[in-house]
């Protein structure tokens, strides 16, 4: 892990209507590590991912990507691979059209890892209309779209949902190799056993606040749990204490 974080978020606050979704999130995303963002439904995980991409407009707070404030900018997105939770594509597009369109958006300097097409067994599907793809095939296409441009940051929202065990294994291998290359990965998932396999850093969100941010080992040690699932359950039981807005709750502040 490099010492300088790739993404630095400070004081992220977002409300949808009157409902607060992010309440003063402070978070650093390290390079060369897999960061798992965990939390119950409605905790703000997807909104946090989207805030990094500028897909939601923040009420307050800043996101710095590689030292540059992303407010009003789009260039940092060329260094991010995004795998959204729901893979849906226009019916008239073939799988290859989707990847070609994204490639055209990335422009002249885009690096591409086309081994992925073979890895995810997409070659025979490239001319198949998206409407004819199964859920698993669409998810493989979704993964390829995220990894294809060799991004410095991968944002993966429920990445293995709908994948068969073989494709899921390939995806996990890809995530590990990305980490080894010093790039950053953020995974949002409800499958905690999978996250335990992959994650170096765990961020636990509850009601739009960071309740835990630290290494997986530190979390396990602090909670005394033998699995991430038990550790998170422990955190959820003890996460009722409100965190002061605009400040991240430090591990030492969490009552366990």
């Amino acid at each position: 892990m490099s010492s300088t974080p790739l993404v630095v978020m400070r004081g992220l606050t977002k409300r949808f209507a009157k409902h607060p979704v992010l309440q003063g999130i402070d978070l650093d995303i390290p390079r060369g590590a897999v960061t798992a963002i965990i939390g119950p439904n409605g905790a703000g995980k997807t909104t946090l991912n989207k805030a990094m991409l500028g897909l939601v407009r923040l009420d307050q707070g800043t996101v710095h990507f590689d030292g540059v404030d992303t407010a009003g900018r789009i260039d940092h997105r060329s260094r991010i691979g995004y795998m959204p939770q729901t893979p849906r594509y226009p019916d008239s597009f073939a799988a290859g059209d989707v990847l070609r369109l994204l490639r055209d958006f990335r422009g002249a300097d885009a690096r591409t890892d086309e081994e992925l097409i073979a890895s995810f067994e997409l070659s025979p599907l490239l001319e198949v209309p998206a409407r004819a793809l199964s859920g698993g095939q669409r998810q493989r296409l979704n993964a390829a779209a995220a990894f294809l441009f060799v991004p410095d940051l991968l944002l993966l929202d429920e990445p293995t949902a709908g994948l068969d065990p073989i494709a899921s294994g390939i995806l996990k291998d890809k995530i590990r190799s990305v980490r080894q290359e010093g790039r950053a990965v953020i995974i949002t998932s409800h499958i905690l056993s999978e996250l335990q396999e992959l994650a170096d850093v765990v961020v636990f969100l509850h009601e739009g606040r960071v309740q835990w941010s630290g290494s997986l080992e530190a979390l396990m040690t602090r909670t005394g749990a033998d699995s991430l699932e038990r550790a998170i359950a422990h955190l959820m039981q003890h996460s009722t204490t409100a965190v002061p807005q605009g400040r991240m709750k430090k591990p030492s502040e969490i009552s366990l």
């Binding site: 897909l55 939601v56 226009p90 008239s92 597009f93 073939a94 591409t112 097409i117």
Partner: protein, 295 residues
């Protein structure tokens, strides 16, 4: 040794991306890509797989062909096809716009995660919606007319006006559809709102104007009626078409007022300006909503 061709290289691409193992930087072209051009190029490439557009285009073509065969002249064919232009084109565009917006919300999210500006992507999505429909409509109308050679110099202006009005309604209702789709999160509510808007503009509005005109029959209403007409793009389109023909019986009430009050040349110019405003305002509002939206 020949470099293996990328599986992503489409037929007709100038430069194929070579397979990369290990990873390497690839330069495709010196110019940065235009978002609008890129989306449109991909949309047009895949248009033959777009069943909705194909059905609309083939349906228009068959209907026009049958009407031309039965009537044998362009003016009579245009009179018969007036309802296609004034009712079906707005309905198809409105429904296609709202449904396709909701169907591609997640894909739009993925596109916005790329280094593209929202305003550019909105323009691309709008044009990708209306251009295939406009192309299907105009080809469906014009091919049978050309095939049967029924357009003479006397009827050419009427044909141009009818097709032009249909195209204008496509652009207008495309903008309205995106505005409704973007502003209303729920798909069913969006579709219902679109249907209500279509019903109001095609049928309800004339009824309201007629009631107002009947109720206030003792007052001079010509100028207010002109204002009322500018508020409805379907009435505007109808007026533009009918002012080019002798089919006075097909004129709506507001169209009749326009014909009498302004005369054909000035009326056409005023109506064309009104149609342009109807294109610009909904598109501008939809673009503003798209720009401010949380995805």
């Amino acid at each position: 040794m020949t470099a293996p061709v990328s599986p992503l290289a489409a037929a007709g691409d100038c430069v194929a991306i070579p397979s990369i193992t290990p990873l390497a930087a690839v330069r495709r072209s010196a110019a940065s890509p235009s978002v609008v051009g890129t989306v449109l190029r991909h949309e047009l490439r895949s248009v033959l797989r777009n069943r909705g557009v194909l059905v609309f285009g083939v349906g228009t073509l068959l209907l026009t062909d049958i009407v031309v065969r039965l009537t044998g002249s362009a003016p009579r064919a245009m009179s018969t096809l007036l309802n296609l232009v004034l009712l079906v084109v707005p309905l198809v565009t409105m429904m296609a716009g709202i449904i396709s917006w909701h169907a591609s919300r997640e894909f739009n999210e993925l596109l916005l995660a790329q280094p593209v500006k929202r305003t550019a992507l909105f323009s691309a999505l709008y044009l990708a919606l209306v251009l295939p429909l406009a192309g299907a409509f105009s080809l469906g109308m014009l091919l049978p007319l050309a095939w049967h050679r029924v357009v003479d110099p006397a009827s050419a202006m009427l044909v141009v006006t009818t097709v032009g009005s249909g195209l204008a309604l496509t652009f207008i209702f495309g903008g309205l559809a995106l505005l409704i789709g973007i502003r209303i999160e729920d798909r069913l509510r969006g579709v219902m709102t679109g249907l209500m808007a279509w019903l109001l503009l095609t049928v309800g509005y004339d009824a309201v104007v007629l009631i107002v005109a009947t109720t206030l029959a003792d007052y001079p209403l010509e100028r207010p009626m002109l204002g009322f007409m500018l508020l409805n793009p379907v009435d505007l389109a109808r007026s533009v078409i009918v002012l080019q023909s002798d089919a006075a019986a097909l004129m709506g009430y507001t169209g009749a007022v326009m014909s009498r009050f302004l005369g054909s040349t000035l009326g056409t110019i005023a109506a064309a300006g009104g149609l342009l405003a109807w294109i610009v305002v909904p598109v501008a509002l939809a673009r503003r909503s798209f720009d401010r939206r949380d995805f």
